[in-house]
């Protein structure tokens, strides 16, 4: 395995945390914190047991990660082995990514097409509506759980395993699943609502975030690498909702960051051969604040800049900041403009792990990776990677002119599927 030898050795000089003892202390704190999160393991494993019982009693259907999805095994923080499906995926899109920074999802689809992974890009899908839940408090447990189970039921009908793009959707679906399994009252109320749109409770055996898919496929991606990224210093920001919301169920790997920090995103950076750098405010949120990024941006940009961008650039001089969630990219990328105008100097391009992987595999920086939606300056990153972004940009401009004149835009068509949709209780399947 590529990344087995390349271990994060906290002592190495390029990780420029100054004092030796500070590093040791930080390592100990994190080891303890990793164990601390284990404290919630019992309830989590109890929930998984009860889920199986409910299936036996016929109360719920479990969407198993069976052989057809060619699962790969990963270890989670709770030590439990988790099955990550790799093919026949039902793309659970994220509203922030699609509406705002489409490079995320176009890069991911391009990678899947390159690796010939069949998937479903469904229009019968809603977002997890967490903007009403966490963002504003206008929603409640019933509503968000019903939305969750509606989407899962659609995936089950199409016999494709849901792959969740957004960190928050992944987080709140874990929370909803916990309550729908453990709290009978919520389950019955949600079932009543689902009956009104003649659907039933289908709970996925594993909730999978797209960064975990990139994690298990990192070696196939690394093999198709076209550009040498070994001189690129990469700082990674893990999205809070993926590994802090119901912290037991996210991928950890003892060979990556000593198994103390989540493995996804860092693992693909290591697999591609780039240099992973560490910084002191690793554990901090990106400043998204859910409601703040839209209606109180004073708070979001101050936090993102002073607690994330500035420490990263000062401590590590990294070339790029990579994360795996909508809110983080939006906040970290857009929050640099005003502080720079105030006279601060630090800036760093912010892209997603799927975009970085696609760039390294030689995808078109604009037609596929859609970098033009990102504001922080990514030009010297591409120069350092050896990608001639100027000609790519002219090429994109020409492509835009053709479309204006009526040319049909190029679309990423998913490879053909092998699995047939399921017929459930005589209900006609919406194709």
């Amino acid at each position: 395995m590529m990344d087995k030898e390349i271990l994060i050795d906290f002592k190495k000089e390029e990780i420029s945390i100054t004092k030796e003892d500070q590093k040791l202390f930080q390592k100990l704190v994190e080891e303890r914190r990793a164990k601390l999160a284990k404290g919630t393991i019992e309830d989590y494993l109890k929930m998984l047991e009860k889920m199986k019982e409910l299936e036996k009693k016929g109360e719920i259907i479990i969407h198993h990660v069976n052989e057809e999805y060619q699962p790969r095994l990963v270890k989670t923080l709770s030590g439990r082995i988790k099955k990550i499906p790799t093919v026949e995926l039902w793309q659970h899109k994220s509203c922030g990514q699609c509406g705002h920074i489409p490079g995320y999802i176009s890069a991911l689809y391009w990678i899947m097409n390159e690796l010939n992974i069949p998937y479903v890009d469904d229009t019968n899908q809603t977002s997890c509506t967490a903007w009403n839940y966490y963002g504003s408090g206008t929603s409640n447990t019933l509503a968000i759980t019903a939305v969750f189970l509606r989407n899962m039921h659609v995936a089950y009908e199409k016999n494709a395993y849901p792959l969740i793009h957004c960190g928050t959707s992944f987080g709140d679906y874990k929370e909803c699943r916990f309550f729908v399994v453990m709290n009978d009252e919520i389950r019955n109320k949600v079932r009543a609502i689902l009956k009104k749109i003649d659907r039933d409770i289908v709970i996925p055996e594993e909730l999978v975030h797209y960064s975990e898919w990139l994690h298990v496929m990192r070696n196939e991606i690394a093999e198709r690498k076209k550009y040498d990224v070994s001189n690129i210093k990469v700082a990674v920001h893990a999205a809070c909702h993926t590994y802090k919301l119901m912290s037991e169920d996210y991928t950890y790997d003892d060979n990556i960051l000593n198994g103390i920090r989540p493995a996804p995103t860092s693992s693909i950076v290591l697999a591609l051969g780039a240099k992973l750098v560490d910084y002191s405010t690793w554990y901090d949120c990106c400043g998204f604040g859910f409601r703040h990024i839209l209606t109180e941006r004073e708070i979001s940009r101050s936090f993102a800049y002073f607690r994330k961008i500035r420490p990263i650039v000062q401590e590590t001089q990294a070339d790029v900041l990579i994360t795996h969630d909508t809110g983080c990219v939006t906040t970290l990328d857009k929050s640099q403009v005003v502080p720079l105008a105030h006279g601060y100097k630090e800036t760093i391009p912010v892209i997603s792990d799927s975009q970085f992987a696609a760039l390294a595999m030689g995808a078109h920086p604009f037609k596929i990776c859609q970098l033009h939606w990102h504001i922080a300056d990514w030009r010297n990153l591409l120069n350092k990677m050896g990608i001639d972004w100027q000609s790519a940009y002219d090429d994109y401009k020409k492509y835009i002119e053709d479309i204006k004149k009526g040319a049909k835009p190029f679309l990423l068509i998913p490879p053909p599927r092998k699995l047939q949709p399921r017929v459930i209780k005589g209900k006609s399947i919406v194709s």
Partner: protein, 141 residues
């Protein structure tokens, strides 16, 4: 913080919902800010400085320890008894003796500056005197 209406309008960062919990001096609201042709003055260019303390400042504590009655400041473990019995604190809670010792020991200069100019001491002393006098009159009559 009861303030009159006009002053509230121009108050810096008034659109922030949790405004009462941010000190004024940490809010930078530019009169004019131009972002390459886009006007981001006022609220659009507002940034807030972090309140993270990077180092403890012992100068204040050393200063107090030199004072004749200040030698015991090191013994305080913030039990709160001084404020519990303080009649002024119970009338004017901004006057909190335990809190004064706390910010001196921690060296929070920003908190101490907040107390300057607040005539809470005078207001509170007036209250206590009024209160004590009224009790005395009741006893005497």
């Amino acid at each position: 913080m009861t303030e009159n209406k006009e002053e509230k309008k121009e108050r810096k960062g008034q659109y922030i919902i949790e405004r009462e919990y941010i000190e004024d001096e940490r809010i930078i609201e530019p009169e004019k800010l131009d972002l390459g042709g886009v006007d981001a003055s006022g609220r659009w260019g507002l940034i807030i400085l972090p309140r993270v303390i990077t180092d403890f400042d012992h100068s204040l504590v050393e200063e107090v320890k030199k004072l004749p009655r200040g030698k015991h400041i090191e013994n305080c473990w913030q039990c709160g008894l001084c404020t519990a019995v303080c009649p002024i604190a119970h009338k004017e809670p901004r006057f909190n003796p335990r809190y004064f010792i706390y910010i001196v020991k921690m060296g929070y200069k920003s908190e101490i500056n907040k107390l300057k100019g607040l005539f809470i001491f005078a207001k509170a002393v007036v209250y206590v005197l009024k209160h004590v006098l009224s009790m005395l009159t009741q006893l005497v009559l």
